[in-house]
Point group: C4
Chain length 269, copies 4
């Protein structure tokens, strides 16, 4: 890993995606609730256009990643016959990660432009892309120093959580709580990439990567990222609610869960 830019770039992409998902799903949710009315924030055809746009973004981001890896110096991997091993794995691994997201973007396009593909496949392939990313990164961190291992371990955890949420969405598509969680987790992932960049390649003096206190600080900082991402997603949801034209519509309680036993709007008075 090492380079500062190599952590800021994917971090920025994930921050953008997290923000995009937060706004998109908030808008869909608010549109949803005014279902049987004529007037809606986003028509279904506009919803589909947003989904197609998201597919393009994923492909563009993944392509930028692949190309930047080439510029950063990925040669075609050569099997070194004299020494019997493969050289220059890192860049090639990162390309593999980005190519899976390219596939996810292509699947999103396919799902929302044609009708022949099961709707759930965009979530599934995106989930696989995150799972694959977690798997590859988890094999990166053999034999590094304690703080280095810890920051990447936490990164792998949050990547797996993202994959898990996407797999749950395969079965519970359109569940607003899962969708906002995905937005939050992606923001944490993005901001954590930046954090890793600052920890491993600081502008000032180097961190002592084998110090136990530093490791504990890093874990604590991770939970701060989580907290701020939660608050930020809440803020995004509220902002979208406020700019929504017919505000008095969204005051009915949102429901979720399979058995909801206390309908609150019954005998309030």
């Amino acid at each position: 890993m090492g380079s500062f830019a190599g952590h800021v770039l994917p971090g920025g992409m994930l921050l953008f995606l997290g923000l995009w998902w937060g706004i998109k799903f908030s808008m869909f949710q608010l549109t949803q609730k005014n279902k049987n009315r004529k007037w809606q924030l986003i028509s279904r055809s506009n919803q589909r256009r947003l989904e197609i746009f998201e597919g393009f973004i994923l492909i563009v981001f993944a392509s930028v990643g692949v190309v930047s890896m080439q510029i950063a110096g990925a040669k075609v991997p050569l099997y070194d016959n004299t020494e019997n091993h493969w050289s220059d794995m890192m860049n090639l691994q990162h390309c593999t990660i980005f190519m899976f997201f390219e596939l996810a973007g292509a699947m999103t396009l396919l799902v929302h432009t044609t009708e022949a593909v099961p709707l759930a496949l965009d979530r599934l392939v995106l989930g696989l892309a995150f799972l694959n990313k977690g798997l590859l990164i988890s094999y990166h961190i053999h034999g590094q120093m304690m703080v280095d291992v810890t920051v990447h371990q936490l990164l792998v955890y949050i990547i797996y959580v993202d994959a898990l949420i996407l797999f749950l969405e395969v079965f519970h598509r359109g569940n607003i709580t899962l969708e906002l969680m995905r937005s939050t987790v992606s923001i944490v992932q993005g901001s954590w990439y930046w954090q890793i960049g600052f920890v491993l390649c600081p502008q000032g003096p180097q961190w002592d990567l084998s110090n136990h206190s530093n490791m504990m600080f890093v874990v604590m900082f991770f939970s701060w990222h989580l907290m701020f991402a939660l608050l930020f997603t809440g803020l995004v949801y509220c902002t979208v609610s406020c700019v929504h034209p017919n505000k008095h519509q969204w005051t009915s309680p949102m429901e979720m869960g399979l058995l909801e036993k206390i309908p609150k709007s019954e005998d309030e008075g």
Copy 2:
């Protein structure tokens, strides 16, 4: 960790919360079953008042925790540039844990005073608070002695179970079995904190923290805590049932589960 008071304080809070949840959900369940009758133990507006009160309790408890950490000597963490590490992590970590519960309390208030927030979010954020607590404590226990590691490991397990139950409640809100389990698990957590206090800071002679028999005793004691918490929750449920005014109402069998194939009240005679 170390100090006796530092384990008794959160333990007491969790014991109170566990007891509170046991009583609250028993009362809600009994109210539930007399749904289509006029006369009810708790009206819906009183239910909401209880929920709002619970939000306040969470915030007060978390604030007491944060403040007591300050008194116990948390200075503002200073990055020690000469030695390149962070000092005084413990207190700051505990503050972080409490701040997440503060957030959970605020979310509970928000969910039950306004209508704009999905109902499931109070469970979700409380579950995240427990998950975050488990994560932070699990990084505490590097390099301690065997019995010390074991008691904290068991604490982390039971905290994760609490988080898991809360995440299940996000999808199955109002399920009485899950709610009573949450009450039980919180009581185990609270009493286990006290147990840790007595093991690590005993009044009498010190324990031999590296002895294998002591470790096995501690594990067995944990299962006793679980057993007594189960019996205690059962007792709370029965007590609430007995003081309930129209007792002959609650004799119909409670159902749970998605497919219930043996309705017992059919051909009994």
Copy 3:
């Protein structure tokens, strides 16, 4: 652990329970399917009597276990103040395991004799008893030899699977596939106890407990136990079906699963 009888006793109990569950649930399932007919194999009141009988069996088995532990020499544990550790943990741990099953038996009685307790609680407490058993045994096996560790690890796995099936039954009560799986897994558990007895305390020459081939044999033997338990449960189900008086009734396909898309009995011809 050590003694041969100490493994044969719980093994025999679990074999009995597995067989009992296999027969009981097969009979319930066959009764189920003739729902809207007068003539039934077991009336509902007889079903309840069987459940109450099962509660008694559990209590008797657990009491036998506790008493035999006393006879085997459990003294009241004394905290050895001079050496600062607890002595004679093993017998006390086994008593704890049995006491949890006593609780499970009492809960089964309570659920099926009164109407005040949620029906799901018998499964839940029995599942907790297995979970607790697995937890305690998993702390037994520190520092033993390789084959000894492996046999107990496999025992812990199968105990956790039993607990998992019971927790799934809390939500999917009456699902015949889960119930037959529980019967199978309990039979594997019981026969595996006997296997452990023969491996650790053989009549003939001692096994070499640190040999790698022996460890691999033991794992393979475990999968044979699983296979024979599957075949045995199948045999039990078929036998019960055959002695069932109105055989032509049970030829309709049994369904399970939440979405069953290929109803087979439609256009067969």
Copy 4:
């Protein structure tokens, strides 16, 4: 393990099964959607014939495996009393693995020829066969070299994923996304067997099995296998769709998931 043929043989079987499942479930899915029409690609009786044929294939494959193990030199295992250990475990273990698949094939036959067995059991026993395979292989890899351990670890992961999908299918039978995932995962498993054969027994110079770069290459290659298997399954599904006679029928969106909130076919215009 060692021999090249010993990896190519099961790999080829799994590739065939993966392809077979991809084609079969695509055809079933397309037939499904024209439910209320007379004209269908496969009648129900033909579907059943395909299922019975699949049971035969499983039995034949497993028998070929068992027999080839005998030819490869499996003697009846003899407990070596002088040295107190079992000899020649490998072949016997592989026989055990194949025998479980034989059982799964027999169960498939039983489920689809008679009506007395719960429909879900074919998935369940096949899932158990994969679980058992993963368990046995995971005990193979003690004390091998780094690359050897990694390739078998990844094999065990993908085998467990196969088992997990089959267990999910027990509860969600007929879900096309799960079925296509099973096809994909089986193809990955099969092609990964071939990969292992080429890595451990190369035609050219030997790999350096303790080299860290080689290990990282192997992990990356695994994710390429996954990617190509995904694309291949997609290709199979599209091909089956294209040769399907009444193409205009399958243009309605496929649904999956328990709550599907955005029905796309509503107000497209």
